[in-house]
């Protein structure tokens, strides 16, 4: 990633970090995957700015984020609903926008969700990677917290000629979930259901409320906690992301991407991959409801999301690629051939 095109400077940030898809191979080393907590919003944002593969983006959690770009840049804001402005002018989420050189992109008043993502054409660079990812690992004290004055390089070496652009990029609203309504989380059976006998079904009977104990490691939900009938010890074993743990307290603990890998608590269900994005966007006080799902349906949701990302990526690449202007260094490298 040595070839970049411009610099982004953080002007305002409180809880914001650099994120990518995480380090799934960490599991083999006892290291959590981490990565963007709303993986769909992260990949969708990258697709919107025409990145052929997903590159590091900025993740702001419930607090405003303002970034200044020193070159004309194509950016997109995805995830939670938010007030987006470019140089003070109102802009939309889920639509690529041009931030002219020296202007500020502001993401304010994040609502109806926890996290917004700012993606840029060519990605944000300049932070160290660990196991192939720049994403924070709080347990290891790794990651880049964005504070006012943080600078990151961005772009992939090519400039975009945005001078003649009179019309807006298309708005691409993310697809609606065909199986689950707002606040519904798809759940697959957990391995310890036997320990609860028919009480595991209690999971699907009432609403739960997100507490303020929600972060990359996990989220605590208040509501009906199924009571365990057998009190035997469970040998420590690794638990997947999305595990709904019953630890004996008054709350359920859902393990998220930054979880410690092994635990000895029983698991009554596992939230499907797609619904973990929704869980990560649920604000404290927000209601959630568990809905039983089959593996086939969970896969359908995943496939649908991937197709949405792919189709936006294809569409935006077609629009953005012709705007590439090779830099002089680039032309030398390519032997002076015009593109």
């Amino acid at each position: 990633m040595s070839r970049t095109s411009g610099t982004a400077t953080v002007v305002e940030a409180t809880f914001a970090v650099l994120q990518d898809a995480g380090r799934p191979e960490g599991a083999s080393w006892g290291i959590a995957a981490n990565g963007a907590l709303d993986q769909f919003a992260y990949h969708y944002g990258n697709a919107l700015v025409g990145n052929p593969t997903s590159l590091p983006s900025l993740e702001a959690t419930m607090t405003d984020l303002v970034v200044r770009f020193d070159e004309d840049s194509v950016v997109a804001v995805t995830g939670a609903r938010a007030e987006v402005t470019v140089g003070g002018l109102s802009a939309r989420t889920h639509q690529a926008v041009v931030v002219p050189a020296g202007w500020e992109l502001a993401v304010r008043d994040i609502r109806d969700g926890m996290r917004s993502y700012v993606s840029v054409f060519g990605g944000f660079h300049g932070a160290d990677a660990f196991l192939g990812s720049v994403s924070p690992d709080r347990t290891l004290g790794f990651g880049l917290d964005l504070v006012p004055g943080t600078t990151l390089s961005c772009g992939d070496g090519d400039r975009l000629d945005l001078s003649g652009r009179q019309y807006a990029f298309p708005e691409c609203a993310p697809p609606r979930n065909p199986l689950l309504a707002e606040g519904e989380l798809g759940v697959l059976p957990g391995e310890s259901r036997d320990l609860f006998e028919d009480r595991a079904g209690e999971l699907f009977e009432g609403d739960y409320v997100m507490t303020d104990k929600t972060d990359a490691v996990g989220a605590r939900l208040e509501g009906r906690v199924p009571r365990r009938l057998d009190a035997g010890e469970i040998l420590s074993r690794a638990l997947p992301i999305g595990s709904i743990e019953v630890s004996g307290g008054k709350e359920l603990l859902v393990l998220n991407r930054g979880r410690g890998l092994s635990a000895g608590y029983p698991v009554v269900g596992v939230i499907c991959t797609s619904s973990m994005n929704a869980l990560s966007q649920t604000r404290p006080g927000g209601p959630v409801r568990f809905v039983p799902l089959t593996i086939a349906d969970a896969r359908r949701l995943r496939v649908r999301e991937a197709e949405a990302v792919q189709s936006v990526r294809a569409r935006m690449t077609t629009i953005i690629d012709p705007l590439r202007v090779a830099t002089s260094e680039e032309r030398r490298r390519r032997g002076g051939n015009a593109r």
Binding site: G30, R237, P240, V270, R299
Partner: protein, 238 residues
Amino acid sequence: MHGGVEITSQGDAAVRVRFTEGDSEERWNGVRRLVACLQELRLPAISGVAATYDSALVEFDSLSIRLEDLESVLEYAVTRDGRTAATTDGEPRRFSVPVRYGGELGPDLGLVAQHFGESEDDLIGLHSANWYLVRCFGAPAASPMMDGLRDGVSVPRRSDPRVRVPEGSVAVAGVQSLIYSVSAPAGWQLIGRTPARLVSTRHDPVCAYRPGDFVSYFPINDGEWAKYEGLSMEDFRV
């Protein structure tokens, strides 16, 4: 299904392979052979394998492989285990790690000694005379989970877990022992602390040890701490 092995889906992105036959040693060996076999197969759809005592959680990308197909691959992998020795990992590594026992750095030494009916000095002698097999990576991040002090003697956990134990703490609980790779909340009994650095995000791999390796300890005094401080586990390989 292969005898003595349970393959169960764990949500839509993971499958657990659990070994159910034989004693704990045989089950753990089954897990290690499976891990070695999967390392050899290098299936791109498998993103990671989190192995513990009697099971391995195989995480996969459901867009690249169907659950049924992955389960077939895993069934093949466990039937193949007879032929696949733990060759991928090579010979076990051995690490001899300095520990400052007792005092502020090992506040539970006296209690643990009492539990074993030993004096503190004898417990230090007992603890540092053994080689401990690394069974798996545990929490926090890549901490080595090892066997306990003496076969079958279980050490009770603290009734009031500590909010934060420092990095490098050498701990025992149940029939297990552990070195904390980073500081974390914990209910284990702390008998000492090592100045060795266990994990580093700047190193590849992130730690020098892995399951199947052995760790032993040697006591140091306060004056010797500085000499070893900041050295990595690799520096203590013997």
